[in-house]
């Protein structure tokens, strides 16, 4: 039986190879190749020599980390609150969380410009309430990028977390109470450990997505918050230094794959 029907799948495989795998292989090749000289590591040496690259990498990690942490701080209580709702309430809350998925990421990101701009909703409210005299600049800096990314990626954390939480049998919590555990102990010793695999998996997923994010940093950062994907854009479309871009992409790919391997392990644990 195995092998049968391969003929039907073959065209798809060819398409996959030509459209996805070959370019990746080409990119990996570019990163280790110099015309006329063959294999080389000089593009990586170039990365180490120019501090700007390492700064961008560090910048990306930091923004991704903060946005991910913000997601956890907002997402966990949100999922917990949703678990406590009635079935109807859960449905409504769930659709509100999922709703942004149906709106283009571009539209959502531009919406933040309207909300966070100097004459935007947030600043007008802050000034009207007397908390600040001059508008606070949220846009075109790390704060804006972090807010935008946290917003766009929130469902990726909340959905798996919520799914794990509603799987927890209420009777486990009742059993803990009957055994004498106060609510705080029930949460930390029973509820939280049971959600931990899903929380870790969701956190890693969001972090991976943050690392490669392009649209939101490009728009809300206004070119002033360099992230890896924006740097790649510059190296490919403006300076044309494809080898350098390929070397950076390779590093990003390896980092992402490592985190993804961790994510898979945790995810399998969460499913078990």
């Amino acid at each position: 039986m195995r092998g049968q029907g391969f003929g039907f799948v073959a065209p798809l495989l060819v398409l996959m190879f030509v459209a996805f795998n070959a370019p990746i292989a080409y990119m990996l090749g570019l990163a280790f190749w110099e015309k006329g000289r063959g294999f080389t590591l000089q593009h990586y040496e170039g990365l180490l020599e120019a501090p700007v690259y390492l700064r961008v990498l560090g910048n990306t990690m930091r923004v991704a980390l903060v946005a991910t942490l913000a997601n956890v701080v907002i997402g966990y209580p949100l999922a917990l609150w949703m678990r406590g709702l009635s079935n109807r309430g859960r449905m409504i809350a769930l659709s509100l969380v999922v709703l942004p998925f149906w709106v283009s990421i571009l539209v959502r990101t531009y919406a933040w410009i309207v909300v966070l701009g100097n004459g935007g909703l947030v600043n007008r409210t802050l000034q009207w309430s007397g908390l600040t005299d001059a508008p606070v600049s949220f846009l075109y800096n790390e704060l804006g990028v972090t807010i935008g990314m946290a917003n766009v990626l929130l469902p990726f954390l909340v959905l798996p977390l919520f799914a794990a939480m509603i799987r927890i049998d209420d009777r486990l919590l009742q059993a803990a109470a009957s055994l004498g555990a106060p609510p705080r102990t029930i949460f930390w010793k029973v509820f939280f450990p049971l959600t931990l695999p899903a929380l870790a998996a969701g956190t890693l997923l969001v972090f991976i997505l943050c690392l490669g994010f392009y649209v939101t940093p490009a728009i809300l950062g206004g070119g002033r918050v360099p992230m890896i994907s924006n740097l790649l854009d510059t190296l490919i479309n403006q300076i044309p230094r494809w080898e350098q871009a390929a070397a950076i992409s390779t590093i990003l790919l390896i980092v992402t794959l490592l985190i993804f391997a961790a994510y898979r392990r945790l995810d399998r644990k969460a499913a078990a």
């Binding site: 009777r171 009742q174 059993a175 009957s178 004498g180 555990a181 010793k189 029973v190 049971l194």
Partner: protein
């Protein structure tokens, strides 16, 4: 170790009463079964005593202390759920240690108590397994060990054997009773299985639609039921007319069958072989509808389907039951 007392306990959901003015007194060391069909309110009653639920009215006393408004944490009750509710992320030993850790019992002492409890339920050697690696019967025992390790005042068991297959259930019934007796802990057990209730309990409380039907020792409830519901719920019930127009219960094993002799003529409609017993469905001449059910030991004379027999019973084996 204490007694349980319920005074007029009522739990309403809207207009529906899951528990309706229930009184009960369980004495120190007694095992009382709450028996009823599903939806009779027996699990509701248990959750009220455990403090997982608050009664609409009435008072609950444990060891003379009014615990009606006390949260579950403060009642010191050992509770075993039908689903066991073991913590899946903890080992067997950690599960049993949990109530001791909450009570701030020192590590060495807690470890000793937990291992003793596991030995008591014959699970020593499985301390480091996860609940998912255990059979249903073993999980049940972990739940039991966890519920008794902290020396609770009372023990509440919700269909503790309900999820197990028949053979294992019968084995564990004996174990459970021995365990309960050796601990001397006051126990309330909820079940819908009348055999379980009859074999385990010191007394049975029969519940229907949230109301107490009867509280009595197993033999009394079986032979002298308070009403028709109890008669029919606890085993097979035959009803015969009385001269005064009333009705009386006669249990299958009290009915005598002979090929000739005194009694009422009848025909064997069905003879069902049950191992130790044979169950006969008998159609009495001139009396229609429902066949009478008799049970006879298999060693006696046997009657075939279709055979004509004489059926009789002693007046002393009749128990009048209101219609």
């Amino acid at each position: 170790m204490s007694e349980i007392r319920l005074e007029g306990v009522t739990k309403r959901y809207g207009t529906f009463a899951a528990a309706d003015n229930v009184d009960l007194a369980v004495t120190q060391g007694e095992l009382v079964t709450i028996l009823g069909p599903s939806g009779s309110g027996k699990t509701t009653l248990l959750s009220l005593i455990a403090g997982l639920n608050k009664p609409t009215s009435g008072r609950i006393f444990i060891g003379g202390r009014d615990v009606t408004d006390a949260p579950a944490q403060e009642r010191n009750i050992g509770l075993v759920f039908q689903s066991y509710a073991l913590f899946p992320h903890m080992t067997v030993l950690e599960n049993v240690l949990f109530p001791l850790g909450v009570r701030k019992i020192g590590r060495a002492e807690a470890d000793r108590l937990a291992r003793d409890a596991l030995k008591l339920v014959r699970l020593d050697g499985l301390e480091n397994r996860r609940p998912s690696q255990l059979s249903g019967g073993q999980q049940q025992r972990v739940a039991l060990a966890r519920a008794v390790v902290f020396k609770p005042d009372i023990l509440l068991l919700d269909e503790p054997l309900g999820a197990l297959d028949r053979k294992l259930r019968e084995e564990l019934q004996v174990e459970l009773k021995q365990l309960q007796r050796s601990l001397g802990v006051t126990t309330l057990l909820v079940t819908h299985d009348q055999e379980e209730a009859l074999s385990l309990s010191d007394r049975i409380m029969v519940l229907d639609k949230g109301r107490t039907q009867q509280v009595a020792a197993p033999t009394e409830a079986y032979l002298k039921p308070a009403n028709r519901f109890v008669a029919e719920f606890l085993g097979i019930a035959n009803f015969v007319g009385l001269p005064d127009g009333g009705q009386a219960l006669v249990r299958p094993e009290r009915i005598k069958i002979s090929s000739s002799g005194a009694g009422k003529p009848a025909r064997v409609v069905e003879a069902i072989y049950l191992g130790q017993m044979v169950r006969y469905h008998l159609s009495l001449d001139g009396e229609g509808a429902k066949p009478m059910v008799a049970a006879a030991p298999f060693v006696g004379p046997a009657y075939a389907t279709g055979e004509r027999v004489m059926v009789s019973w002693d007046a002393a084996d009749l128990w009048p039951v209101a219609k």
